[in-house]
Subunit: 340 residues, 2 copies
């Protein structure tokens, strides 16, 4: 019999984190344990109100989940199909279960998940480090804090974007990637912003305009020269036919798509469609970050810094060296609880 | 160190096997063993001249393969990337290596591959049984031989297609699927044939016209009502963007696409593109059939009868019950050598 236990937890951000949609100091998550035959798999749901989830909706979803009819955690397609059908949406909640099941499977097989997926742990990408929207003084401090990381992901989508970028460029010529989080509401504004960013040597832009503005994106893409990556426009795998031909690539997050199983399917579909692939995250503990990191040898870009932005990570086991993701050799996700 | 050994073998067909392209009594394959640390993985390459392969080209390809630089069979993405880059094409030869590596991995983990892939062995589909092109008398005998199988796949693409189908319908109202193997050379002929087949209650038609006749297929699809499935038009994953929007579904064969790893990626991409998925085979031993069967719980249709059509199968371990595929609980492919 497969048992599931849940526990709420609040991740504390080291600094107030601001993106185009708003600011916060905490991220309220739900940690889960899936137990089977003496082994424990750990999972995490880090919900986002952009996708109509929060800690309460995750708890409510988990209250419906009954895995006692399943005897074998290896039958993950069946279990995840059951979970999928309990309610639409709720992808972060679903991801928590998926992550815990894969951790359990890896532990039962006594191999790390990257090995289970046939991947070479030396081929992990270098993650970007996120610089939230802030005053020039604070941004200056954050650049120092990010010294070790060779790639910065800069949050924009506010009136003083140019000032933010110029401040960063005053201190560093590192690779810059930019995320507007749907912040530019007109196509002309998006064009002007991106043409400026191109001159500043930005590598690509994530979600310049609202996800639903399909005509705007079509127009915009002909006016600019750097790739645009779908984030808010690319939730689950059912969105891929919508973003294919509109964007150059996609940002896959376990909390948007429903977990490792679905992320892998999206990766394979995206490669077949010649889309660039980024693997990203919400503000997450090392549980969610370790889960996404297992798949990172398959992708073009990684933005897996969620656990670096917090100061009370309840788990350890996933690290970086000069930004390069270091996967553990321990079974499953390779993580251990340390604060819970 | 990973070692590879090869052995040629000729599969004897129980009956002369005729399709639109020609007839034969034997299928010349190459069986391989991949050895690592005391464990043996079995693989098979069953080449087809339609894809510019034969037993000699497979041997020539294997002469180039040197896996001695690889120490870990679990790093299958790296190994298969190395194999892929040795030469273009040669997908049956490549599939042989892929199959043997997965058999080895399953044996090392002591689990069957369907479990490794997270699939429920009870959810295998029912395979069709293939009726080659023949005289009405022989077809009558073959229908008796196929008594146990509830779904027949009928090879057509010759002038007397109608006679073949009417002969079959005289004896049975079983589900019929039809494969023209590119045999109808004009779109009008294909339309007339399919409108006839629709009246005979045929479920779908595989590859009605030559793979390269894109305009013909576009025209044809508007004239008919049953699904058409790409076979010769769908080789490797790079073809999927070409067949998407032209066909209703695809026939994936390990020997066309390069093996289990690539077949899984095609399955995920095809599902994202809302294509129906059939898993098929060449004339193959139980090695290739068991490999494809491991993935069969993921697909809509199966045509995995290659090993039933021969009388000197060098392996055992994959069975059918009233056509439903029965997966073994033994590790890896779950097969054992019996005649080699």
């Amino acid at each position: 019999m497969i048992n599931i236990e849940r526990q709420t937890y609040s991740l504390n951000l080291k600094h107030t984190f601001t993106i185009a949609r708003g600011s916060r100091n905490q991220q309220h998550i739900v940690l889960i344990k899936i137990k089977h035959d003496g082994e424990i798999g750990y999972g995490e749901a880090s919900p986002s109100d952009r996708y109509k989830e929060n800690q309460n909706s995750v708890i409510k979803f988990y209250d419906q989940v009954d895995l006692s009819n399943f005897n074998d955690p290896f039958l993950i397609e069946d279990i995840l199909n059951y979970v999928e059908k309990l309610a639409p949406g709720n992808q972060a909640a679903k991801a928590g279960i998926d992550i815990a099941l894969y951790d359990l499977i890896g532990k039962k097989l006594k191999i790390p998940l990257w090995k289970y997926f046939g991947l070479n742990p030396d081929k992990t990408p270098t993650t970007s480090f996120t610089i939230g929207i802030d005053s020039p003084e604070i941004i200056e401090n954050k650049i120092k804090e990010a010294e070790e990381f060779p790639i910065l992901k800069v949050k924009v989508g506010v009136p003083n974007d140019e000032e933010i970028i110029k401040t960063i460029r005053k201190y560093t010529d590192k690779t810059l990637r930019v995320d507007a989080n749907e912040g530019w509401k007109s196509k002309e504004l998006a064009r002007d912003k991106i043409l400026f960013l191109e001159k500043e040597g930005v590598e690509f832009v994530e979600q310049p305009m609202p996800a639903e503005d399909v005509e705007g994106i079509k127009w915009l893409r002909k006016q600019i020269h750097i790739p645009i990556i779908a984030d808010e426009a690319m939730g689950t795998i059912s969105d891929i036919l919508k973003v294919y031909e509109l964007y150059d690539g996609i940002n896959i997050k376990l909390m948007k798509c429903g977990g490792i199983n679905k992320a892998l399917k999206i990766i394979h579909a995206a490669k077949a469609m010649n889309l660039k692939i980024m693997i990203g995250c919400m503000v997450e503990s090392s549980v969610g970050i370790a889960a996404a990191a297992q798949l990172s040898p398959l992708v073009d870009y990684a933005d897996l810094d969620g656990n670096i932005l917090i100061n009370n990570d309840p788990f350890t086991g996933i690290y970086h060296h000069k930004g390069k993701i270091i996967l553990s050799n321990e079974p499953g996700l390779g993580i251990q609880p340390c604060q819970i």
